[in-house]
């Protein structure tokens, strides 16, 4: 079985190509084993 999660997350209004600390960032890598409740990604509140 597979679960596909699609979501909107915060993105800063920065010039194209650059990123901000308030952007959503995944904290997992391809092939990683994850468990229920483990963070997939984070962002910082501005």
């Amino acid at each position: 079985s597979t679960v596909v999660l699609i979501f909107q997350a915060p993105t800063a209004n920065t010039p194209e190509g650059s990123s901000s600390s308030s952007d959503y960032r995944f904290c997992v890598k391809q092939g990683d084993r994850v468990r229920v409740g483990q963070a997939l990604g984070r962002w910082k509140e501005e």
């Binding site: 079985s1 597979t2 909107q8 915060p10 409740g37």
Partner: protein, 378 residues
């Protein structure tokens, strides 16, 4: 050993027969009988041995191929989409019926004394952690019951950070990223992508914007040499991408694969309100790593339940995609929903069955970390 015993007994029987037969007629009948029993005695063990050898050879070949793939992966070579004849053959198999039969078989009650052995064997085969099971093994009446087991309190702590999204399942991360640069396509594997609107349904609330709006910027972001998103299958109109719009900035995706031994309950990844549920009655292809490399539009073709709604940052959708033998998806917020039901048509093209939760209000509230659904066998 039974095969050898048979040979031995037949051999000794054949030797004893001429000595034991005193009358001509009796000896003739006995001789003929010996010849028949000899043939029958060899047939079953011979066929069994041939089958075991064939399965062994196929398994060895598969292990060899898997090893080669693993070596490629270690070298950093990304595996490409490569359809094969075996995958095409799966398309003609009645996988939905097979899955239902499997589910019924797995729901048979196992004698209490046998339960720990059966579940330990399952755990050994599929690498499940039995120590996390909420109940003693004797209390799971069937393998189906054990498969959907809940876990002990505290086994899955939920990250309390309000600025994070948590994994809804135990599994392996296959793909993740932002949708913007891919024009609403998720790469199933290098060389083949599928459309998110096709996965979620044409009525999806997926936030889109006109395609031409930021075209020049998108071209700059994407890698021009990688045209994998172009190669989406045109076999079925329902799978074609929407060329007039693309997802808005800030839309992300994460694809997580659950192995047979994994905990199979789905939890809420955040506090959100589910507004719509869609059930797509599809196929039940396997969804393992090999299948992703060989079957087109795997997640778009398979039976699935999609929950859509809103969270504090905007849109959210969770698609639970079934697989061979695991096509029965149960929603705790809608227990009456039944998936993988028998169909009347062989190649159905009916639209997804949709239900809007609380049309007057904000939908159904789902708390971060709470159980939402479960994958059942069947």
């Amino acid at each position: 050993s039974s095969f050898l015993n048979n040979i031995r007994s037949n051999y000794s029987g054949a030797r004893a027969s001429p000595l034991g037969g005193s009358s001509g007629a009796g000896a003739g009948a006995g001789g003929g009988g010996t010849g028949d029993s000899k043939g029958n005695a060899f047939l079953v063990p011979g066929a069994t041995m041939a089958t075991i050898l064939m399965l062994g050879a196929l398994h060895a070949r598969r292990l060899y191929e898997d090893k080669k793939i693993e070596e490629k992966r270690e070298k950093g070579i990304e595996l490409e989409f490569h359809p094969d004849i075996k995958a095409s053959f799966l398309g003609v198999l009645p996988l939905r019926s097979i899955s239902r039969a499997w589910g019924s078989f797995m729901s048979l009650e196992i004698p209490v004394w046998m339960r720990p052995y059966a579940y330990k064997a399952w755990a050994r085969a599929f690498h499940s952690n039995l120590e996390e099971a909420a109940l003693p093994l004797e209390e799971y009446t069937s393998l189906q019951d054990f498969f959907v087991r809940s876990l002990k309190e505290g086994c899955r702590p939920i990250d309390p950070d309000p600025c994070c999204l948590v994994s809804p399942v135990d599994g392996t991360v296959l793909r993740f990223g932002e949708l913007k640069g891919n024009r609403g396509m998720i790469e199933q594997v290098k060389g083949h992508s599928y459309s998110v609107p096709a996965l979620l349904g044409n009525n999806s609330l997926l936030p889109m914007e006109p395609e031409g709006k930021n075209e020049s910027k998108e071209e700059a972001v994407g890698d021009k040499s990688d045209k994998s998103w172009l190669r989406v299958s045109l076999a079925s109109p329902k799978l074609r991408e929407n060329v007039s719009a693309s997802p808005m900035k800030g839309l992300y995706y994460c694809v997580i694969y659950l192995k047979p031994g994994d905990y199979h309950r789905i939890h809420s990844p955040a506090d959100w309100n589910a507004t719509v549920r869609r059930h797509f009655a599809g196929r039940l292809f396997p969804v393992n790593e090999r299948a992703t490399r060989t079957i087109r539009n795997l997640y778009v073709e398979n039976e699935r339940v999609v929950l859509e709604g809103i969270w504090k940052e905007g849109f959210m959708a969770l698609a639970a995609v079934g697989a061979t033998n695991i096509g029965s998806i149960e929603l705790f917020i809608e227990p009456e929903l039944r998936t993988n039901k028998p169909k009347k048509k062989l190649f159905p093209t009916e639209p997804p069955e949709e239900r809007v939760y609380d049309p007057e209000g904000l939908g159904l509230r789902l708390e971060k970390g709470k159980e939402v659904a479960v994958f059942n066998m069947g």
